[in-house]
Symmetry: C2
Subunit: 385 residues, 2 copies
């Protein structure tokens, strides 16, 4: 096991009716900016519950944060927050709204010329507005971590950043708010959480048997609950299970003391930036191709995964790892999520630019730092087929 | 899944050489009281490492905190801390030292007549000294929770208390400090962690499949690592695995949203108070008898446990649950931990007082609140046989 340091101070308030606890969680006297997305919270009753919880507070609103939240949009909120002397941000929505809100939190007190520097040149986050979250879409895990991903329309970039100052003070997770999600968003959430686990698990054996089993616990849970969610979308228990599993998939716990990969995410972000695919759609496309490309490096973990998760015990090692990857791909497809770029109308030609762009910016990626422009192009071509 | 609220702010610093990080973790300028137990830290090099980490701080010492830390002893430390205007406590040792230190932390600023009221009549902990921990014995999970258990010699009581103010600010877990533990303490740690999981898992199915699998992950890990620890006590990876597993067993995570039992602990505490058995020894004695007594109420979870953990799938339901309980008892015995009171020379006669004492104080216990004096006596008689 590698040495590690772990501290996750987020208060999770989970369950039916939990939005009512907002009143006690938002600091008394705070001037609150309520951030949200396309306005679904105004159609599904969440907005009313939130405003009831905030009736003792001064509240401004900023709606319209997109999926893959954009710097250009968020900077409008930064201006409002500065002008109205906002001192608490309340994100109400999914991971995109929350990621965007984390950017606003860091940008408002940013002392440099342009808060984009936090992403472009990793300018340190020296201060941030405190923030809370009412989550309505289980997927990203942003509700219990200090990470965020923001896109810039002008340059077609999608970049991640992180700071311990960006942990939500609290995150309210009421599974009832997720009952009305369309199947596409539900399935995306399952895939996103699944791939978050894979990024922290599918590397090499690192003498961390508990972390392995904790990761497998989430994978097995997602595999069980995915089909239930699609066949019985109104079933509270399944909604609750996905919501908690997605949180656990990226709160840092299963990543303690083990190597991590994250190449699937890095490549996926570029696909979203270039062609606008949903984040989870890109992950479902990239992961199987990446696992096949990296099979020799990931063999031991793929064998363990195949046996423990899919019951694959027969055949040669390479047959078993291929069976495990194929089972993963089939699972994504069973949720209605495609696994090839061609299915989205994206051709193999012109993919080279992505690998070159990643290597120029990040160097080689993956747990062994072996994926450069050439390897990424090979993976993308396999994704395309 | 039941509604829940979860927040665990402890910073875990894990791994080889991590005591060196003390310097940055203890607040600058703090007047530190270093608490420890029988003095093993002065024989195994831990004391020197801690004092090096504290060389920029003003440090007082209080040694001699016992296993099952005693109110009478701890009140001496309270006096010293008050007199020397201590403002930070650093526990160095196992769960007993840390539990005792939590009591000191709450007792120093206690405004009532006698800090024992925190345990005897659940007087609220309105303030507490901040504390940190260097853990040298994996078992209790106290390093990542806000609970403590303290005994009073004069009245032969052993009582638990808890407050969010008693989370350690940080806990340093260096598995190398546990290499020199004797087999008895190592085995006790495995059993303690195992039973902590059981108390949160072996109740009834509560539509919490992820928590179930997270609990099973810890159980499976402990079952694998237990024999390795006894056969190769100097193996770092096994020591690290136990240390992290014991922390995860009682940091609140697997208990989120599920029913809990804790009757084995309540009964076990009385056995320790009456006859001085090690805490884990009492758990290994009580758990099998309690599971047999409660089999009808716990059947569904026992079946799941038997199948997933021990691969028990054949026979009637009652045969399978008995096989699962027998496997658990055999596992404890394989670690060298006895499972019957008679093996400790404790006779069946005179056990009634324990059940009466528990019911008079706590009412009926267990996840269904069905275990009163009569039922506890029946369980204890089965333990004795």
């Amino acid at each position: 096991m590698n040495n590690f340091s772990y501290c996750n101070p987020v208060r999770i308030i989970f369950g039916k009716g939990s939005i009512a606890q907002l009143r006690r969680q938002v600091p008394a006297g705070a001037r609150v900016l309520l951030t949200y997305g396309s306005g679904s919270i105004k159609r599904n009753g969440v907005y009313e519950q939130v405003m009831q919880g905030l009736e003792e507070h001064t509240v401004s609103e900023f709606g319209g944060i997109e999926a893959n939240p954009r710097y250009e949009t968020l900077m409008q909120a930064v201006e409002i927050a500065r002008r109205e002397k906002i001192d608490f941000l309340l994100s109400t929505g999914g991971g995109s709204v929350l990621d965007g809100t984390k950017f606003i939190a860091a940008a408002v007190p940013f002392a440099g010329a342009d808060p984009w520097e936090i992403l472009s040149r990793r300018a340190p986050v020296a201060a941030a507005l405190p923030l809370g979250c009412v989550l309505t879409l289980p997927a990203t895990g942003s509700e219990m971590n200090s990470n965020a991903v923001v896109s810039r329309e002008a340059t077609r970039e999608k970049r991640a950043f992180s700071s311990p100052l960006l942990y939500p003070l609290f995150s309210i997770l009421d599974p009832e708010t997720t009952m009305s999600l369309p199947p596409r968003q539900t399935a995306n959430g399952v895939v996103d959480a699944f791939v978050h686990v894979c990024e922290q698990y599918m590397t090499w054996p690192a003498a961390a048997p508990l972390q392995d089993r904790q990761a497998e616990a989430i994978l097995q849970t997602l595999i069980e609950v995915g089909p239930q969610l699609l066949s019985q979308p109104q079933e509270y228990d399944s909604r609750a299970t996905l919501m908690w599993a997605a949180t656990q998939a990226l709160n840092g716990l299963i990543g303690c003391g083990v190597p991590q990969d994250w190449a699937t995410h890095t490549i996926g972000h570029e696909i979203t930036a270039a062609w606008g695919l949903d984040h989870a759609q890109t992950l479902a496309v990239v992961l199987p191709a990446l696992l096949r490309h990296q099979e020799p490096h990931k063999r031991a973990k793929l064998l363990q995964y195949g046996e423990r998760i899919w019951g694959i015990t027969g055949g040669s090692e390479v047959e078993r790892t291929e069976a495990a990857i194929a089972a993963t791909e089939s699972y994504f497809r069973s949720l209605g999520v495609k696994t090839r770029l061609a299915e989205y109308g994206i051709a193999a030609a012109g993919l080279e630019a992505i690998g070159q762009r990643i290597e120029a910016r990040d160097g080689k990626i993956g747990e062994h730092r072996t994926l450069g422009a050439q390897e990424i192009t090979a993976i993308l071509k396999a994704c395309a087929a």
